[in-house]
């Protein structure tokens, strides 16, 4: 079925509206190694997101977000998809989600990897909404990088 600007049901899939109304893992929790604040400058959507790592494992992603259904649902899905995964596996999911979003509707989503995330396939055809869908994911990427620096301080040549 073709997605057009007049065909809203392909954009607002039931799954998206469910996540929007009942976001998974919302709220800011302790402990965490990194907290970031991201803004979509165009519309003002905002998110504060914390990451808690246990070694290589993402043990919690907590957040407070203000934004539209797409941005809210997408961070809820993110929470589902990366919590409990290794950082490497989480980053792989991020890659596939980003590819789907930037694929202008030409990329076939992999349900095994993206689970509920495949509901965002329609968003890829609304360029103005792609940023909404990616807001939480970009924040997560940023937070993980910072958390890794905290938990694995870069080793330098100097052993002191």
């Amino acid at each position: 079925m073709n997605v057009t600007p007049s065909n809203m049901d392909m954009l607002y899939q039931e799954i998206i509206l469910d996540h929007y109304k009942h976001p998974h893992g919302a709220g800011l929790r302790d402990p965490f190694e990194a907290e970031v604040h991201h803004v979509n400058p165009t519309c003002g959507d905002e998110i504060t997101l914390r990451v808690h790592l246990d070694g290589e494992t993402v043990t919690d992603v907590s957040y407070a977000a203000q934004g539209c259904s797409i941005s809210q649902a997408s961070v809820s899905v993110l929470n589902d998809l990366v919590t409990g995964k290794s950082v490497t596996d989480g980053m792989a999911v991020l890659d596939s989600f980003t590819q789907l979003m930037q694929g202008k509707g030409q990329v076939e989503p992999d349900e095994d990897v993206l689970e509920d995330g495949i509901a965002f396939a329609g968003v890829a055809q609304f360029p103005a909404r792609v940023k909404c869908a990616l807001l939480g994911w970009m924040a997560w990427k940023d937070a993980v990088s910072q958390a890794l620096v905290t938990t694995h301080p870069p080793t330098t040549g100097d052993p002191a």
Binding site: P5, N7, Y12, T42, G44, C68
Partner: protein
């Protein structure tokens, strides 16, 4: 009789069909206006028949292009009641016009003194567009001056209670919007200008939303600088206007350097041309001047008083209809009194992005977001709003379509 149907025929885009073969309901004119064929054709004809560079070219095409370019300036000057055509400086948009003023007021002219320095104060308002906030933040940061601002009342009006403590002997500049692009408020400029002048401060007016909508006479207004932009007044992109009192312009140092803004150049130093050339570095927006000239001709042919009356009527109609929708709250003055044709609102339970997306699926084009007025949004405790804005071609049927689409939106999101 104001004949909207007749006017709409001049705007080719209004006949466009959108996805799903829906007619276009364009309610985003405060963002940018649509263009009548008179403007599009003037630009087209310029490039096909008269294109050349200006001022410098002495051949026939050059003479035609120069005359056409300067005629645009004459037309704009007449349209805003400028006492002198050389008071009209062409910029790339309203933002450049405001930045130009903010830059040159902070710089030292040859043999003179900068108008703003450490310890001085600049006063703006909480309802400004970012383009009338950031340049003043930059100016005050550069010079060590202090930025102060008027607050906004719950009704969305400027809070003038503080005027005597805000505008004082320390105030060097007051910069204020005439019509708010978010709240729709029309501000009482006379009170502010009188007060500012009484303490010797200069007044800059952001008229980006005013010049398209209401008859403007800069001489009667009494401000020192007025900025606006071509694309919001049925003109092209790529051109804005800074009007300034001639004596003031003539006392200020240049902004951008190069091209025709010079009097003479040696490797060691340069001297500068009088206004407006002094402030127009490089090849100016030539086709765009032709376009803005055609735009003000078009608006004048209808009559700005008629356009203002239509804007007022359609805004009143919209405010009435919108406020009957449960859960819809207008942010800004709720009646069409001292008010322009931009109506921002929230709809309970539905984020503005989602509102505008659903409206778009019905062919209704509105804007969602902070409308480049984050502080005004913060003032009302909202992060974003949906904004419908009207212009000379807007019909009551379009407002009805908006209202109907909003009901549909509520149903869709179960709100």
């Amino acid at each position: 009789m104001y004949d909207v149907a007749r006017i709409r025929e001049d705007f080719p885009i209004l006949g466009r069909r959108l996805s799903g073969d829906l007619p276009l309901v364009y309610l985003d004119s405060a963002n940018t206006s649509q263009k009548p064929r008179q403007v599009i054709d003037a630009i087209d004809d310029h490039y096909r028949q008269h294109n050349a560079n200006v001022a410098r070219a002495m051949h026939q095409l050059g003479a035609e292009a120069s005359a056409a370019f300067e005629l645009g300036r004459d037309k704009v000057a007449a349209f805003i009641g400028a006492p002198n055509r050389d008071e009209v400086v062409f910029t790339k948009n309203a933002s450049e016009a405001l930045n130009l003023v903010a830059r040159v007021l902070g710089e030292t002219p040859v043999g003179g003194q900068a108008r703003v320095g450490a310890g001085d104060e600049v006063v703006i308002t909480e309802m400004e567009h970012h383009s009338n906030i950031v340049p003043w933040q930059q100016l005050t940061q550069r010079t060590g001056a202090t930025l102060r601002w008027f607050g906004v009342t719950d009704e969305g009006r400027l809070d003038l209670d503080d005027i005597d403590t805000l505008i004082t002997e320390r105030t060097k500049i007051v910069s204020v919007t005439w019509v708010s692009n978010m709240l729709g408020t029309i501000n009482p400029l006379d009170v502010i200008i009188t007060k500012a002048h009484s303490v010797g401060a200069l007044v800059v007016v952001d008229a980006s939303q005013a010049v398209p909508q209401i008859p403007v006479d800069v001489a009667a207004l009494g401000a020192d600088f007025v900025a606006f932009t071509g694309h919001k007044l049925v003109g092209p992109t790529g051109i804005g206007v800074l009007w300034g009192r001639y004596d003031l312009l003539a006392s200020l140092p240049p902004f951008l350097g190069g091209g025709e803004m010079i009097e003479t150049v040696t490797m060691e130093r340069s001297t500068y041309a009088p206004p407006p050339a002094r402030f127009e570095a490089g090849t100016p927006p030539i086709a765009e001047s032709v376009g803005i000239g055609a735009a003000v001709d078009y608006l004048s042919s209808i009559g700005m008083a008629h356009i203002a009356a239509h804007e007022q009527a359609i805004t009143a109609y919209a405010l009435g209809a919108l406020q009957e929708i449960d859960g819809l709250t207008v942010v800004g003055p709720k009646e069409a009194v001292d008010r322009g044709g931009a109506v921002s609102f929230t709809l309970e339970g539905v984020h503005p992005h989602d509102v505008s997306q659903l409206l778009d699926s019905r062919g209704v084009a509105v804007r969602a977001g902070h409308h480049c007025a984050k502080p005004a949004h913060l003032r009302f405790g909202v992060q974003s709003t949906t904004r419908a804005s009207f212009y000379l071609y807007t019909t009551e049927q379009e407002i009805d379509a908006l209202v109907e689409a909003l009901h549909h939106t509520k149903k869709y999101f179960g709100a």
